[in-house]
């Protein structure tokens, strides 16, 4: 097979072991037979809680308040988490920053994740998440890249790609990087402290785990936490211009 042999940079004849050969995906046979185990396929431990997301019904708006009372009283509900419950930074961008875990103060797309409700079953969690009352003052949605550019609203800062041409640096272009919209197998499973074990199935950075500061609280404490955070909001990176 000619494509599998060649000369290396020193001119020595070699046989290639990998280049030019089609190799099956390590999990290919598991994929085609349904034997590959994703997080949702693992046996469930007794007492496992299921989380459903609280989603924004509007494309762009000011998030003035979240009323969890009805949701927390809903059947099977154990807890709820919002951005205000995050002990550290509400930013999960692994390389490029400014990617919020939970929408806070502002929602900037329909379906933006505002928080999560944990319940004994997935069905109960979904039902409860739909009972959350959101106080959102709608803002004008920005629906395409061009108008966002004109308004100076960026998900990421504009980036300039450049290269050295002799002694001069020539700017080639400005790139507006849209956030990717993956449709992937994003789910994770974790045990709570004292022993955190985390399993996640993702091709993207959807994995998150933290212990809410007031895990046992079912009401009251959540609102207090939120109020404190609102009174002194965390310092925001100046690049997030879509924040009012």
């Amino acid at each position: 097979m000619s494509q599998l042999t060649g000369k290396n940079f020193e001119g020595v004849q070699i046989e290639r072991r990998l280049v030019g050969k089609g190799l099956a995906h390590d999990s290919a046979l598991k994929h085609v037979s349904g034997a590959a185990a994703y997080i949702d396929d693992l046996p469930e431990l007794p007492g496992t809680l299921h989380a459903a997301f609280i989603l924004s019904p509007v494309a762009h708006g000011k998030l003035n308040g979240v009323d969890l009372s009805e949701a927390l009283a809903s059947k099977g509900v154990a807890a709820a988490v919002l951005a205000s419950d995050i002990p550290g930074h509400n930013d999960i961008g692994p390389i490029l920053k400014h990617e919020l875990l939970f929408a806070e103060f502002i929602v900037d797309y329909r379906g933006a994740i505002i928080g999560a409700i944990a319940a004994d079953t997935m069905a109960n969690a979904i039902k409860a998440a739909k009972k959350v009352k959101l106080d959102i003052a709608p803002l004008q949605p920005v629906l395409d890249v061009e108008s966002a550019h004109q308004l100076g609203l960026y998900v990421q800062p504009p980036q300039t790609a450049s290269r050295l041409l002799g002694a001069k640096t020539t700017s080639i272009s400005k790139l507006i990087l849209p956030t990717r919209f993956p449709v992937k197998t994003m789910r994770c499973w974790c045990t709570l402290p004292p022993s955190i074990r985390l399993k996640c199935s993702t091709m993207w950075r959807a994995c998150w785990v933290f212990r809410p500061a007031k895990w046992s609280a079912k009401s009251g404490a959540w609102a207090a936490g939120s109020a404190a955070r609102k009174a002194s909001p965390p310092t925001l990176p100046p690049l997030l211009r879509c924040w009012p």
Binding site: A28, L29, H31, V32, S33, G34, Y38
Partner: protein, 484 residues
């Protein structure tokens, strides 16, 4: 409540007796009760196909792919079910080997569903061509590998001919007429008389057909069905009758069966049916359900209204036939009175000089909800348009005829309205375009569509009118290449 009745069916060749709610989805049962987790939940609305399994209904000899996420357990009593785990017996199915060798998976999540859809195709169609492979995959979304290596693998083994699946036994199993499962009463009447009795006794019961619409709420945990009357076992509603002028389809006849009956009689209609329902949806979804759900963006009604379809409504006392357009009264309101059901739909066969076109405009080509669906049915005799029927979906609260456009088409100048238009105009498509521009304006003047996330009112009006111009161009012999 009566004692619980188990739901009996065959799974991967083994008899099953399931004790569960009849409104539990088959997907949930497979994954939680049987721990057969090869079948995945993706979109939970019968769109992505990750949950595809093969089903052979009672009395059917072959399998078809179906979406298990929107299929209720009550619907599979007496059926044969094959999951991805059952496809591999002692060795891998040839398709599984071909896909693994050809790099047809990346994240692998959609893969079991794709394997099942293609296995269904290969079991029914010896040596499918590329178009048939794509049609079989219209209800399966892949978001990382891309379809090329998948289609290649399917075509590679398609050369080997029919790849049989384990034989089905579905016709032999007897099923109770009522399944009293925990929390859900699932009635499976076998005769129309029985259906009427059940309707009278259980007025609040859900009337379920294929479940491709109602099943979505079930899959998304938005509803439960305490009482269900399932129409797909009613023999009178399953009948297909044909004479020289019409087909009459019982309301529980599926879209796949309709497609099999009409063949390529109305190519435009067949294309529409393939687009609004994948193989999975067509095997379950019924014509009666599509009409009865009375959605303003359902795709069957505008096409059938333009074709001049009639609908037969029946109750225990009487039967009446009305024009399909008279069935829709207002948003989700129909002409059905208490105790009445849709018995059948009668579709006229084409006549000499008939030109029928239906176009669905949606964001995605396959399996999407229409922004606008426009249907045009003209009969041209000599150089006169003797009949014009135009109907739209997505333009009003109900599927609706465009009467001003119809009147205009009937009055249009001779040289612009005949099937000889091409000869008359030669390549002067511009004058045809101008003539049909007036039809477009008529359409735009008689509708006041909504703005929603599928399209603004202005966009819908623009598109609906443009479809008339497209009609003119096609009648003038111009080939219109639009992927919608």
């Amino acid at each position: 409540m009566a004692a619980q009745t188990p739901i009996n069916f065959t799974l991967n060749g083994t008899a099953q007796s399931a004790n569960c709610r009849a409104d539990m989805t088959v997907l949930e049962w497979l994954r939680t009760m049987k721990r057969l987790t090869g079948t995945k939940e993706g979109c939970a609305e019968g769109d992505c196909g990750a949950c595809s399994i093969l089903l052979s209904k009672q009395g059917d000899s072959g399998y078809s792919a179906v979406n298990s996420c929107i299929l209720s357990m009550g619907q599979i009593a007496g059926c044969d079910v094959l999951t991805v785990e059952g496809l591999k017996s002692e060795t891998y199915h040839p398709l599984q080997v071909a896909m693994a060798e050809n790099g047809s998976s990346q994240c692998g999540f959609c893969t079991p569903g794709i394997v099942m859809s293609l296995a269904g195709l290969l079991a029914n169609t010896p040596e499918p061509n590329e178009e048939q492979v794509h049609d079989a995959l219209a209800g399966n979304l892949c978001r990382c590998t891309g379809y090329k290596p998948i289609v290649e693998a399917a075509l590679k083994i398609a050369k080997n001919g029919l790849i049989s699946l384990p034989k089905t036994t579905s016709s032999e199993t007897d099923v109770n007429e009522a399944l009293d499962s925990s929390g859900t009463q699932f009635y499976r009447p076998k005769t129309l008389a029985n259906l009427f009795d059940l309707r009278a006794a259980h007025p609040s019961a859900i009337l379920l057909g294929g479940g491709t619409d109602l099943g979505v709420a079930l899959a998304e945990h938005e509803s439960e069905w305490p009482e269900v009357i399932w129409t797909s076992a009613v023999s009178e509603l399953r009948q297909v009758a044909e004479n020289k002028d019409n087909w009459t389809f019982g309301s529980a006849v599926t879209w796949q069966e309709i497609l099999n009956s009409i063949g390529d009689t109305y190519p435009s209609l067949s294309t529409l049916i393939r687009r609004f329902g994948s193989t999975q949806i067509r095997y379950m979804g019924t014509i009666g359900g599509n009409i009865g759900t009375a959605s303003p963006i359902g795709d069957g009604p505008p096409a059938l209204i333009a074709l001049g379809a009639k609908i037969t409504l029946a109750s225990a006392k009487a039967t009446r036939e009305i024009a399909l357009e008279d069935f829709f009264l207002d948003y989700r309101k129909t002409a059905l009175s208490a105790g009445e059901i849709i018995k059948s739909v009668t579709i006229p066969k084409p006549v000499k000089g008939q030109h029928f076109r239906v176009w669905k405009v949606s964001k995605r080509y396959d399996q999407d909800i229409s922004t606008v669906c426009g249907a045009f049915n003209l009969i041209v005799e000599g150089d006169k348009i003797t009949s014009a029927r135009v109907a739209f979906g997505g333009m009003a609260a109900i599927p609706k005829r465009a009467q001003k456009a119809e009147e205009l088409l009937l009055k249009m100048a001779v040289e612009n309205r005949s099937e000889t238009a091409r000869r008359v105009h030669g390549n002067d498509t511009e004058s045809v375009r101008r003539a049909y521009e007036s039809v477009a304006e008529a359409i735009r003047s008689e509708f006041a569509p909504l703005t929603d996330w599928r399209g603004t009112a202005a966009y819908r009006l623009e598109v609906a009118g443009n479809l008339a111009i497209r009609l003119g161009a096609e009648l003038a012999g111009e080939t219109v290449e639009v992927m919608a």
